[in-house]
């Protein structure tokens, strides 16, 4: 294998090379940044198309405005970071940085293809879930540290919605774990390849719950209540400018990328039908890209739910449905066995 050869040339153990490459190259930072840039462009372009507009165009007319995001990034990099006098200075600056760091950590255990992972653990699903749950804490702290009404309200909304969304996500993950009898992503994918039935078919309720919770946790429409532009400007990120604003904007997309990757692995069969690392990695990436594109496309279709509507929807409808999904998962597990 290429990785083993590379480790031999560099005189480092293979596990260290894996642990270095997975979070930094694929599925981690390098691919992630390209994906985020593409995704924001695609989101704006798709929303524009549905509304019969053109969208970003004049930055690079030949590429239909694909370089718009790079131009925006350059602007953010050169902009002054304004920290106003009433902020809690340390937390205000550390907030986006910490959140972004927490959100890149799941890529150490999320496999991006057959044999492409930072390290393999029997509890990788739990690890990913736990690391994704860390980020709302810092987002709430950002809202508090900004010393701004909108940021404060945004932080409160984040707290409320996180609680209702993550319990649904946990139930969906749990039913999948019960279905495959494992808490490991790699084993889950192997199980799907072994039986030939992807998770979306064997447990559609869990897939739906996972997808809806993903939309809620990543502030996609119709659950973009935390960011609610028309109501509270940018939610917890209102006061940020410059590079820190670019980081806060990336937060939701990074989360979306991580969760789509998990969705692909658990419900879409991961790297099936390929078994070689390169083709498998491409398969996983394309599948998760389709999931991401679909979830950003919903911006053009739906309006925003109110806070009480979303909470009611998640606690009164989806939470009981989660137990149905769990029962179905156990049932399917018995059939598989």
């Amino acid at each position: 294998m290429v990785l083993v050869e590379l480790a031999k040339i560099l005189h480092v153990p293979v596990w260290a090379l894996r642990g270095f490459l997975a979070p930094l190259v694929y599925p981690g930072l390098a691919v992630l940044l390209g994906t985020v840039l593409f995704l924001i462009w695609a989101e704006r372009k798709m929303a524009a198309r549905v509304q019969q507009r053109v969208g970003p165009y004049y930055v690079s007319p030949k590429l239909h405005g694909a370089l718009q995001l790079i131009a925006d990034g350059a602007r953010f990099a050169l902009q002054e970071i304004i920290v106003h006098i009433e902020t809690d200075r340390l937390m205000f600056i550390l907030g986006p940085i910490l959140t972004f760091t927490f959100l890149t950590l799941p890529f150490t255990v999320l496999p991006g293809g057959p044999g492409i992972y930072g390290f393999r653990s029997d509890f990788s699903m739990v690890i990913v879930y736990a690391l994704l749950t860390l980020s709302p804490i810092t987002v709430i702290l950002m809202g508090w540290a900004s010393s701004n009404k909108f940021a404060m309200i945004g932080g409160g909304r984040e707290a409320l919605l996180t609680v209702s969304g993550e319990i649904t996500l946990a139930l969906a993950m749990l039913s999948v774990a019960a279905m495959y009898g494992t808490l490991d992503f790699v084993t889950a994918v192997e199980k799907q390849m072994h039986t030939g039935i992807i998770g979306l078919v064997s447990n559609p309720i869990a897939a739906l719950l996972f997808f809806l919770a993903m939309l809620l946790l990543t502030d996609r429409v119709p659950f973009d209540i935390v960011l609610g532009e028309q109501e509270i400007v940018q939610g917890p990120y209102t006061e940020y400018s410059g590079v820190l604003y670019a980081l806060t904007m990336a937060i939701d997309y990074v989360k979306l990328y991580a969760l789509s990757l998990a969705f692909t692995l658990l419900f879409l069969g991961g790297w099936a039908p390929f078994t070689t690392p390169l083709l498998g990695a491409i398969s996983v990436y394309i599948k998760s890209l389709i999931v991401m594109l679909f979830s950003v496309f919903l911006r053009a279709v739906y309006g925003r739910m109110k806070l009480d509507q979303a909470m009611n929807f998640f606690w009164a409808r989806l939470f009981p449905l989660g137990f149905v999904a769990l029962a179905l998962g156990v049932f399917v597990h018995v059939i598989y066995a």
Binding site: M46, A48, R49, V50, Q51, Q52, R53, V54, Y57, F297, L298, A300, V301, Y302
Partner: protein, 170 residues
């Protein structure tokens, strides 16, 4: 029947699953349609023959009668004294102008004329106020620049399929 029951009976019944699928399908259908934006700086609507844009001024034809300043409804034209000239001459505040064209109608010597230029950009408010000599110079410049423009000219048509359609013209 109470109010609430009445309301509930008149509420259209919506299938919660099918309605969502229908909404998404509609979104995807619209995604394939072409945008109906007029790509303005590259493309421009063809202006009618007597389009009233920026008023252009020919200093050499002017006789200094000041009729234009009298008729101008928003008082965009003021008469100035130019050093070395016996007569008073009109100056022009493009920021006040409403492009009514009355000044060009009343001008006895056709020193004032309408032009199809409507998108000249000024960076400061002060730079939109011209004295007679400046007005003469900028009029000449704008007419020359407009003749050099190479934009695609189109006519807008209302189309039932697309909404708005742009037909190129020569």
């Amino acid at each position: 029947m109470t109010n609430k029951e009445e309301r509930d009976n008149h509420r259209p019944s919506i299938n919660p699953v099918l309605a969502h699928l229908e909404a998404i399908a509609t979104g995807i259908k619209w995604l394939t349609r072409k945008p109906m934006t007029l790509m303005y700086p590259d493309m421009e609507e063809k202006k009618p023959e007597y389009f009233r844009g920026f008023i252009i001024f020919n200093y050499n034809k002017c006789i200094g009668c000041s009729l234009c300043a009298q008729i101008c409804p928003p008082r965009a034209i003021h008469m100035y004294r130019v050093p070395g000239d016996k007569r008073i001459r009109p100056g022009y505040d493009a920021g006040r102008c409403i492009h009514c064209g009355l000044c060009t109608d009343i001008c006895p010597t056709d020193a004032l004329d309408v032009s199809p230029v409507h998108d000249e950009v000024f960076e400061q408010i002060g730079s939109m106020d011209f004295d007679p000599v400046e007005w003469h110079i900028i009029s000449k410049k704008l007419v020359e620049e407009h003749a050099k423009r190479k934009r695609k000219l189109v006519i807008t048509r209302v189309d039932e399929e697309v909404g708005l359609r742009y037909e190129p013209v020569e």
